[in-house]
Structures are given as C-alpha cells and as structure tokens.
C-alpha cells in the first residue's frame, strides 16, 4: 500500500483550518459552556422535530431546551400552520403544558385557568372583570421564531432572528432540498442521558476514522475495502457553519445471513432503495457507485444522514458542561407486509447496537478529558470536520 500523498488530504484544501492541534478547553471549561449558552444556543436555528409528529390541528409537542432554560410548545393551528411558543402562562409565569405531546383544542393553565388557542391567543381568563384594564390581545403566548425546512421544524430563541432559517441553512437548502424525507414516515428514536460534554457526542458522529476500529464487529468491511483501506470519504466539504462527509461503501462485501434476508425484504442501512436520478445534488455528490451515505452536520447540534431509502438524525442537547442528551432517530419507509417489518426490525437492531458501541466511547472520553492531562487533540485528515467544528464554535463564542 502506498503512503497517502498530499493530494489525498482533504484538510489541505482548507488553509484557514490549518493542521495544528485543537484545544480541549471547550469540552471542560464552565466558562466556555456559559459562552456557548449565550452566544450559540440562544441565537441559532435549532431542529426540534418533524412535521409528521403533529399532523392535525391541535397536535403539539413540548421541547425542553435545557441550556437556555426554555420550554417550547410546538403546535399546529386550525389554519394548518406550525407555530412555536414559550410554554409559559402569561399570568404568573407557570409552565403551561406539562405533558410532552398530545392534541388539544385549547391550552388551559393548571394554576388559575388562563386559556390559549392553538394559535397562541389568550381566549379565556376566569374572573376577568377582577383584573385591572387587562387587554387579552397583549397577553397571548410569547411566540418563538419557528420555521420548517424539508419537513424539519426549527426554532430560534432570538426574539427577532438576524437570519431566516433558509439563510442560516445556506448551501444545504440546494444540496438537500428535494430529498424524499416525507417518504420516510416511520421513526424510531433512542435517547441517552450522558455524562459528557455535548461536543463529545457531536464529534463522535462527524468522522469515519473510528468506524474501522470501533465498529469492526457491527459494520465489518462496510466503510473500507482493500482498494480503500483508510480513506473512508468520497467527499468532504465544509461550508460557512455546516459541513458534510460523503462516505465510501463497500457494497461488494458479502452480507451476513440475516442481513441478506433483510435486504431481500426491504430497505436497510446497507441497501439502496431510492433511485439516484431523483436525488438532489448534495446526495452522493460525487455520484459514486461505491457510495454508502452522506452525513450533514448542521451547526450547532443537528446531524442528518441520508441513505438510499432511509435517513438518520442526531440531535444533541447540552445540559451542563459535562452532561448532554443524545437523541438518535432512524426514519424508514412505511411497511406494507410482515417481511418488511422484519427488514425494518433488523435495521433498528443493528443500528441500535452500533450506537451502543458509540455510546461507550462518549463517557469514556469525558472521563479522560476531566483528568486534565490532555490539553489538545491531534486530528488526522478524516477528522477535518472536528477542526471546522472548533473554528465555527470559536467564531461564535468570541463574537
């Protein structure tokens, strides 16, 4: 095997990112976490779910954005529009909706009964005449900037966001717009509450270097083969804030017996389902016939992985400098028969197990970081996105 030449190095295309070490302080310092809270999470567009979760008027879910001490009510109104509100009663600031999801004609506060419409208007105040010049129009729920892109619902906690969602997404609008996310209406989600910094989780899902070792049992030979032993990526691109890797897939490898069954019966991680011609330019951007999937990492905390016939997302929610929630989702086509149920179940189980492999490294990384003996990371070429991640992070917290 010939040694990699400089022409093979993605990192060298991005001079501004350099090749030097990356500090570990952002994973450990309380003060840095405070700046992330104030400078990032209170100002960026954050994905909170999919439109399919609230299909009918009155359908709602509540999303806790712990780092911002915000509880957000996302609700579909009678007009079909999806809106976001601070989940706080305007009367005495009580948390309005206490469950996580449901469908309601109106939202009444449990405390004194102030009642709001699906569109956030104040429509009922018990003993209203006992107040003093109360104008209902001034006391609707406090709206949160909410917008939808390709069925993904985003919020922005800034009262008047400086950028629209589309401006924030930038290049991704054209690269991924038109991918058939809506044809993947079945979703399985797993949550893990982890004793690690949120970026440890983000980082674990933005490089392929780990796959050959950590996933050597669950994805044997999938992301590499003899002709491509260490260069896992077909393409790596960094944008202004976001970034992507297009992964090589060894489709010639022999599937395990159960995997082969699952392939015969339906979509799975390692099988192609949608036709390539209908895909937007950001899906398999090199149009390689040895393509596995593309991973788009949206700053700050949202990953979208597009495959042929399925999609995966990760949302990472900081709780404290050394604690975060990892939400992993897989989106699949509807199943029509029992065999497709089997195929889907195989996909869910093998992905879950691969994620359990990832899970162990996360707290182990934080334990090592907390020892304080490592003050910087050394990153190889395949870990370019971590380098970019750090630069964008620094730009935000120092702004």
């Amino acid at each position: 095997m010939a040694a990699a030449t400089n022409e093979d190095r993605w990192t060298l295309n991005y001079k501004e990112l350099g090749t030097g070490p990356v500090p570990t302080e952002p994973y450990l310092a309380k003060e840095y976490f405070e700046r992330e809270r104030e400078k990032i999470f209170k100002h960026t567009w954050l994905n909170v779910g999919r439109v399919e979760e609230i299909p009918e008027p009155g359908d709602y879910f509540v999303k806790e954005i712990a780092i911002c001490n915000a509880s957000i009510l996302i609700v579909r109104g009678k007009d079909g529009q999806i809106r976001g509100f601070h989940n706080v009663c305007r009367h005495r600031a009580t948390k309005l909706v206490w469950d996580e999801q449901g469908c309601r004609a109106k939202f009444s506060c449990n405390y004194h009964g102030w009642t709001y419409s699906q569109e956030g208007r104040l429509i009922g105040v018990p003993e209203e005449d006992m107040f003093f010049d109360l104008d209902r129009n001034e006391y609707g729920l406090i709206p949160v900037a909410t917008d939808v892109w390709e069925g993904f619902i985003f919020i922005n906690l800034e009262p008047k966001p400086k950028e629209t969602l589309k401006e924030y997404l930038g290049e991704l609008v054209d690269l991924l717009g038109g991918y058939p996310f809506g044809e993947l209406p079945v979703c399985f989600q797993f949550n893990a509450d982890l004793k690690c910094n949120w970026k440890v989780i983000v980082d674990s899902q933005q490089e392929g270097y780990h796959a050959k070792m950590l996933h050597r049992r669950s994805l044997p030979g999938f992301l590499t083969n003899k002709e491509n032993p260490s260069r896992h990526a077909l393409d790596i691109q960094v944008y202004r804030r976001h970034r992507m890797i297009s992964y090589f897939g060894n489709l010639e490898r022999t599937p395990t017996p159960t995997e082969a069954l699952a392939h015969r019966f339906g979509a799975s991680v390692t099988k192609r389902e949608f036709s390539m011609e209908s895909m937007p330019p950001g899906v398999n951007p090199t149009r390689s016939n040895k393509w596995a999937f593309d991973e788009y990492v949206l700053f700050p905390n949202f990953h979208v992985l597009v495959f042929f016939g399925m999609c995966i997302t990760h949302n990472v929610w900081p709780i404290d400098v050394d604690r975060a929630i990892w939400e992993a989702r897989v989106y699949l086509p509807r199943t029509e028969n029992a065999a497709q149920c089997f195929s889907r179940e195989y996909g869910r189980c093998m992905l879950r197990d691969a994620w359990l492999e990832d899970g162990s490294t996360l707290e182990a990384s934080q334990v090592g970081l907390a020892s304080g003996v490592i003050d910087h990371f050394v990153l190889q070429d395949q870990e370019l996105l971590l380098r970019h991640s750090y630069k964008v992070l620094e730009d935000y917290v120092n702004a």
Partner: protein, 125 residues
Amino acid sequence: MSTQVSQVKADQSLPAGFQDLEVFVSAWALASERERNRQRLSSSMEEIQALYDALLPRMDEIFNYLNQLPLNDMPADAKRLLNLSLSLAEVAPAVEFYKQPEVVDGFPAERFVPVEVPHMTPSEE
C-alpha cells in the same frame, strides 16, 4: 386445571406448518423491541444460537405465509409467528457480530431508551 393447561397451550400456538417452532414462543414471541432485547440479554449464547438456527432456514416460508395476511389485522397465532421472527432480527447481531448476547464493550442497553415519536413510531401492541 385441564382447561388452564389447554389455555396456556392455545396462547403459544403457531399457524399450521410452524408448530415445531412453538417451543420458542414463550421465551421469544414478544411484542416489543425492549422485551426482545431484554430476552436476548438474559439468555445464554446456546439459547440464542438455538433460536437463530431454528428460525433462519424458515424465514422465507414464514414470510410467504405472513405476507398473505393483513399486517394490522392478523390472527393471534400469525401475530405470534411475526413477533417470534422479529426475535431473529434482535439476536442476529449477537450471533453474527458479537458472539455474545451483549454488544462487546457496549453502552448499557437500558440507558439507551426508546422514545415514542407521536404519529411516527409504530405501536408495538
């Protein structure tokens, strides 16, 4: 007493042609991913391998049968057969990847909690 025994047996019956798999029903014909996963993690590799070896060669036959039935309105014995077959998906990684019930060096499965996404996660009744 005899009624009770035949009741238990009826609860474990599989459709005609699949009776030889009934020995696996009480342990493995479970309705949810969590139950199947717990069963995998509390079984020995011998038990897991026995299920795997019994189910794998029968899967085409099983789905040729089950695919003729409406997915959301199956008779109880067919639903049991489907739930049993889903246990092959559950144990496959143990047999084919890990050679042990648990993920090797894995994060604890009970800390990786399934969350139902409204209107998107199929019910596992």
